[in-house]
Structure formats: structure tokens, C-alpha cells
């Protein structure tokens, strides 16, 4: 008998707000979190917009603790503490040996790596911080969360580019189903708004160059889309076995009913043009969750606002759901948050969970003229979900041909 996995706590720090409540409110209001980059270093870049976090971690974290963590770990610890408190676990005795962490990242401590190199080059090897390694290692965010909550059942960092955050959720589900843990803090974090990643993504032609209109730059499925807006932040969820959550009378947001993880083996950066790997991930997630296409009422799409990817995903939805595709309401919250890379799947899992829990789907903004290759029912205003049992999917795809689909259902 497979153990049922439920979501009992949510935490976020995002371009739209420093916590879940403010972020959710902004998502429903259709607000953009994208901004002009005012840093001096941005002036020379072809792309001078991004979606920076609404609340700087220095406003939240104790100074000395913060200076020993990369920005990505700072985000992760802030969001994990929120999720832990939201789950009502602050005053609960959780068995440490049954408590795990799966906090993903696409790029890890890249800003620490680069600033450490600056110190080495400009001031010499003696000036490289002795904390540089524990700060820049990709598992640093997960390990820091593990220290905060006291996790001893394994602390993991899935790395699969822009699918990482969802893979973190999927790994947590596995850990609970395999009875290796009762509680797992899952999600992802990213802090890569720095000239090097921005220049590199821009040179891949992946980023929007709508420098004069940052708020209109992320426009999934719109005919005038020209790439994604780089975002930053972290999303963490507390997953528990259903029996563990019930035994302590926890509030349950939704169940993570299934996960599908596939790989394209097609190209290192380009997705399979027919989206076969992504469609397989969706089909596997539904099968794992014992859901039929007609049960799926909502999809939080990966849709990053790139010309090819948004169309490929629309094709996947039809390939997977068939006739039921026309009764699914689809949205891309990236239109507001930008693309948080390794945190995207985590933030979007939280948005999907909240859509089911509150029975309302956040809109896709900046969608004025839908690409004619896209035949989906896309929410451009908040859309209510009906009462009764519902299920939803969250899709995430990453460079390297990684595809993750997560199936959530109401409880």
C-alpha cells in the first residue's frame, strides 16, 4: 500500500513578496515582479531587467548567520522557516531520524563562486573566505535547512536546471513513500541575478530584451513573447505522510498524488520539438496518481515565455489529455514572477496547491494575442475552480532534457 503524501506547510520569498500571503495576493491581482536592474554592472548588459526578490534577505536574517550563507541559501532558509511554522511544527517534537530535506537548485552558490574569484584575482589567495566552499556548494541550501529543522533522514539537492524545484518535490514524495521519512521539507532555491548568468542566458537567446517594459516582458503564449525574465527566490513545502499529518491534527492543503520524471535524450539545451518527454512525464504523473484526464481541471504550466517552449508544452497538453484538454484551465504564473530556474517548480507547486486549496487559479498576465499554434483555455483573469474533488498538474522542464510533472489533488 503506497503511503499518501500531503502538503501541510508552505513558505516563499519571491519577486512578488517576502512570504506566501503577499505573493499569493499579488498573483491573484495580476502584478508583475519584474524590474529594471539598477546595479552599475547592468548598464553594459544586453538584458537589463530581472525579477528580484521583493524583500532582501538582510531584512529578515541575522547578519552573522547571513554572511556565512550564499544568497540562494539565505532565500531557502527564510522560506523553509516559514513553511515549518506554517505547518505548525515549531512546537511539535518531530523525530529527526524520520525528517528529511530535498531542496533543489539549478545553479547553486554561483554569486559566492564569482565574488570569491574576484577576491582571488584582485587581492590574492589569502583573501578567499574560509567559508567559500560551504557557501558555494550546490547542497548548501539543503544542508542549511537541515540544520535549522534538525533533519537526519537525508538532505538532498536534485539538480536538473529549470526542473530542479519540481524534482525536489518528487524526491520528497519518494522518500515518504519508501518509508525513509515521515516529514520532508522540499522545494528549490535560486539566486543567479548576476552579470555572468545574465550574459550567458542572453547569449543563448533565452531572455527577453524588452528592457524598457520589464513588467510586460514575461508574456507566455503571447505572439510578441521574446524570452523569459530571470527571477530569483525560494519556495519550500512541508510534505508529510498522511498518517503523520492526521496523528497531529495538521491542516492539509492538498495531496501530492503523483510524480512523473523523464528525460529527453535529445539535445543538451533544446527540448524535444514534439515535447514527447514532457508529455510522458505528465502521463506518468497521472498514472502514478491514479487520475484520468477528465480529473485534471488545472495546469500550472512551465511556459517561460520563450518562442519554442510555450508551443511545445501546449502540444504536450493535448497529447496527454486528448479531448479533456479543452476543459483544463491553464496558467503561467511566470508571467508575474519571472523564471526562478531551480526554484520555479517549487514556487509553482505552491501556486498549484493554493489554487486547489482556495479554488481559484491565478491569471496569466501580458497575454494579449495568443499564439495561433496554442489551443488552450488560458486564464487571463483569476478563474474559480468548482467544488468537489479536483486535481491539477504542475509542469517543469529544464536544459539537459529534464521533464517533471507533479499531480496534486484536493483532500
Amino acid at each position: 500500500m503506497t503511503r499518501t503524501v500531503v502538503v501541510t506547510g508552505l513558505g516563499l520569498t519571491s519577486p512578488l513578496g517576502g512570504d506566501v500571503g503577499s505573493t499569493w495576493e499579488a498573483l491573484l491581482a495580476g502584478r508583475s515582479g519584474a524590474n529594471r536592474l539598477e546595479h552599475e554592472w547592468a548598464a553594459q548588459l544586453p538584458v537589463r531587467i530581472a525579477a528580484e526578490v521583493a524583500v532582501e534577505p538582510s531584512e529578515v536574517l541575522e547578519r552573522v548567520k547571513a554572511r556565512r550563507m550564499d544568497r540562494s541559501a539565505q532565500f531557502a532558509v527564510i522560506a523553509a522557516k516559514q513553511a515549518w511554522a506554517d505547518a505548525g511544527l515549531e512546537d511539535v517534537e518531530v523525530d529527526s531520524e524520520r525528517l528529511g530535506v530535498a531542496c533543489a537548485s539549478g545553479i547553486g552558490g554561483v554569486t559566492t563562486l564569482l565574488s570569491s574569484y574576484d577576491a582571488l584575482r584582485d587581492k590574492g589567495p589569502r583573501r578567499v573566505s574560509p567559508f567559500a566552499i560551504p557557501m558555494l556548494m550546490p547542497n548548501s541550501a539543503a544542508a542549511n535547512i537541515g540544520l535549522v529543522v534538525g533533519a537526519q533522514a537525508g538532505v538532498h539537492t536534485p539538480v536538473s536546471a529549470c526542473a530542479s524545484g519540481s524534482e525536489g518535490v518528487a524526491l520528497g514524495v519518494d522518500m515518504i513513500r519508501l518509508d525513509r521519512a515521515d516529514v520532508v521539507v522540499v522545494g528549490g532555491t535560486e539566486a543567479a541575478i548576476h552579470p555572468l548568468p545574465l550574459a550567458a542566458f542572453a547569449n543563448m537567446m533565452a531572455l527577453s530584451k524588452r528592457n524598457d517594459e520589464p513588467e510586460a516582458a514575461s508574456r507566455p503564449w503571447d505572439t510578441d513573447r521574446d524570452g523569459f525574465v530571470l527571477g530569483e527566490g525560494a519556495g519550500l513545502l512541508v510534505l508529510e505522510s498522511e498518517e503523520h499529518a492526521k496523528a497531529r491534527g495538521a491542516r492539509v492543503y492538498a495531496a501530492v498524488a503523483g510524480a512523473g520524471v523523464t528525460s529527453d535524450s535529445h539535445d543538451i539545451a533544446q527540448p524535444d520539438p514534439e515535447g514527447r518527454g514532457g508529455a510522458r512525464a505528465m502521463a506518468i504523473a497521472m498514472r502514478d496518481a491514479r487520475l484520468q484526464p477528465a480529473d485534471i481541471k488545472h495546469i500550472n504550466a512551465h511556459a517561460t515565455s520563450t518562442p519554442q517552449g510555450d508551443v511545445a508544452e501546449a502540444l504536450m497538453v493535448h497529447a496527454t489529455l486528448g479531448a479533456a484538454a479543452s476543459s483544463v484551465v491553464v496558467t503561467s504564473t511566470k508571467s508575474m514572477t519571472g523564471h526562478l530556474l531551480g526554484a520555479a517548480g517549487a514556487l509553482e507547486s505552491i501556486a498549484t496547491v493554493l489554487a486547489l486549496y482556495n479554488r481559484v487559479i491565478p491569471p496569466t498576465i501580458n497575454l494579449h494575442k495568443v499564439d495561433e499554434a496554442v489551443d488552450l483555455d488560458i486564464a487571463t483573469k483569476p478563474r474559480d475552480l468548482p467544488p468537489g474533488d479536483l486535481a491539477a498538474l504542475n509542469n517543469s522542464f529544464g536544459f539537459g532534457g529534464h521533464n517533471v510533472a507533479l499531480a496534486f489533488r484536493t483532500v
Binding site: 541575522e62 547578519r63 552573522v64 589569502r126 583573501r127 573566505s129 574560509p130 567559508f131
Partner: protein, 81 residues
Amino acid sequence: MATTEEIRTSLADIVNEVAGIPADDVQLDKSFVDDLDVDSLSMVEVVVAAEEKFDVKIPDDEVKNLKTVGDAVAYIERQLA
């Protein structure tokens, strides 16, 4: 030429910056490890910051002899003399 107290004050600011210890607690008789809870990696940061602040060299071999704040202040004074 900096006085002992000036060196102690500057060092206290560094210890505060690196390890969050209140600067007033950083007195000459205090042990970095036992009293101030400055761990070995933080001590490396303190030493490097002190080298830059006072423009002196504190070799790694010497660091293990700097048990107390007074040891460090005295070492820096000797280098500056």
C-alpha cells in the same frame, strides 16, 4: 603608533563583524575559543581582516599561539614596533 587600547578596539570591531560577538566583550583576557566562541574558520577570517587593517603578516603557524585577545594584540604591537 597605535596604542594597545586602539589595537584592541579595532580587533574587537573585526570580531564583531565576523562572529557577531559584542565588541565590548572582546577584552584582553578573553580566549577566542573558550570565551568568545570564535570557531577555527571564523578565526581565519579574523586574522585576514586584522592583517589588512593593521598592514601586518600573521602566519598560519603563529595563529595557534594567539589564544587570547591579549595574545593577538601583543603580536600585532610587536609587528608594528
